[in-house]
């Protein structure tokens, strides 16, 4: 079975599970939980940066999903709908944490500003030789954590959870254009940070004039 067929099969199977869960079949909802709990947890963990809050969000999001199964339209994928609930819960938590500064995905950003590129250097072919797996994960997590929530969230959904641009827009209630512009900025900011860790030693650094 190729990737696309597998994908279609999963979507079908989700819809069937949702129907059964709506009709009161708890085992069917349990299967949906089992399928998506790790991804929901990872998304919340990335947005919030700690395990305790991620666990709260996982529980709240799954409870909400269960209680509101009737409002799930079935036009979108179950996971897109679920992750939207989890992202909203996560952002609510962030807002509570930073009472002085509101965190919003609608936060005004100048979308026509040019993306910034400073460090231009070739990377090592094998960063695994310089860093352990644990160190690489640490570098990646720290880099993501340093992004603003509006960039971080888009990046996680698109490039970590591998939602499409349209699904990400739907999950976050943003326009496709906003998703694209934020994604590029997020990617370039991460590129910049990772270049500091992964650039080849002794190379001449290039740069735009």
């Amino acid at each position: 079975m190729d990737g696309e067929q597998q994908y279609i099969k999963n979507v079908d199977a989700d819809a069937e599970l949702v129907d059964r869960a709506r009709a009161g079949d708890l085992a069917a909802f349990g299967e949906l939980v089992r399928r998506y709990e790790s991804r929901v947890y990872r998304t919340a963990r990335h947005i919030l940066g700690n395990d305790e809050d991620a666990e709260d969000v996982l529980q709240d999001a799954m409870l909400k999903a269960f209680q509101h199964l009737d409002s799930f339209q079935g036009q979108s994928k179950f996971y897109t709908w679920l992750v939207r609930i989890a992202v909203n819960e996560s952002l609510m938590k962030l807002r509570k944490r930073k009472t002085s500064r509101t965190v919003s995905l609608d936060e005004n950003i100048e979308t026509d500003e040019e993306p910034i590129v400073r460090e231009i250097a070739v990377w090592d072919d094998n960063p695994e030789q310089r860093y352990s797996q644990g160190e690489i994960r640490e570098i990646l997590d720290t880099a993501v954590a340093s992004l603003k929530p509006i960039f971080r969230t888009v990046f996680i959904l698109r490039d970590v959870e591998e939602l499409s641009t349209e699904e990400t827009a739907e999950a976050l209630g943003l326009s496709v254009a906003a998703v694209k512009s934020r994604l590029l900025r997020a990617r370039l900011q991460l590129r910049e940070k990772l270049t500091r860790a992964f650039k080849r030693k002794g190379d001449q650094i290039l740069g735009y004039v």
Partner: protein, 79 residues
């Protein structure tokens, strides 16, 4: 003529393969002639790959059980 600025502006769509073929060809031509933009493209692609290649960590001990516990409690209280 594609400039480095043009290239950076189109980079997102170029990476996601959503630029039309003619623009794509012009951008590819620029990358072959401009070492800066080649490195930016290459390292941005690697950035995406390295995150996509991350294995989802297993849920920490107890998280699954506590989730199921919370769901069961909720369902019982509604019954």
């Amino acid at each position: 003529m594609v400039t480095c600025k043009d290239f950076l502006r189109e980079l997102g769509d170029y990476l996601d393969e959503s630029v039309d073929p003619q623009v794509r060809e012009e951008l590819s031509k620029h990358i072959n002639e401009c070492p800066n933009c080649w490195v930016v493209l290459n390292t941005t692609q690697k950035t995406i790959q390295v995150y996509k290649g991350m294995d989802p960590e297993p849920l920490p001990e107890g998280v699954h059980d506590r989730l199921i516990g919370a769901l069961e409690k909720k369902i019982k209280s509604q019954a």
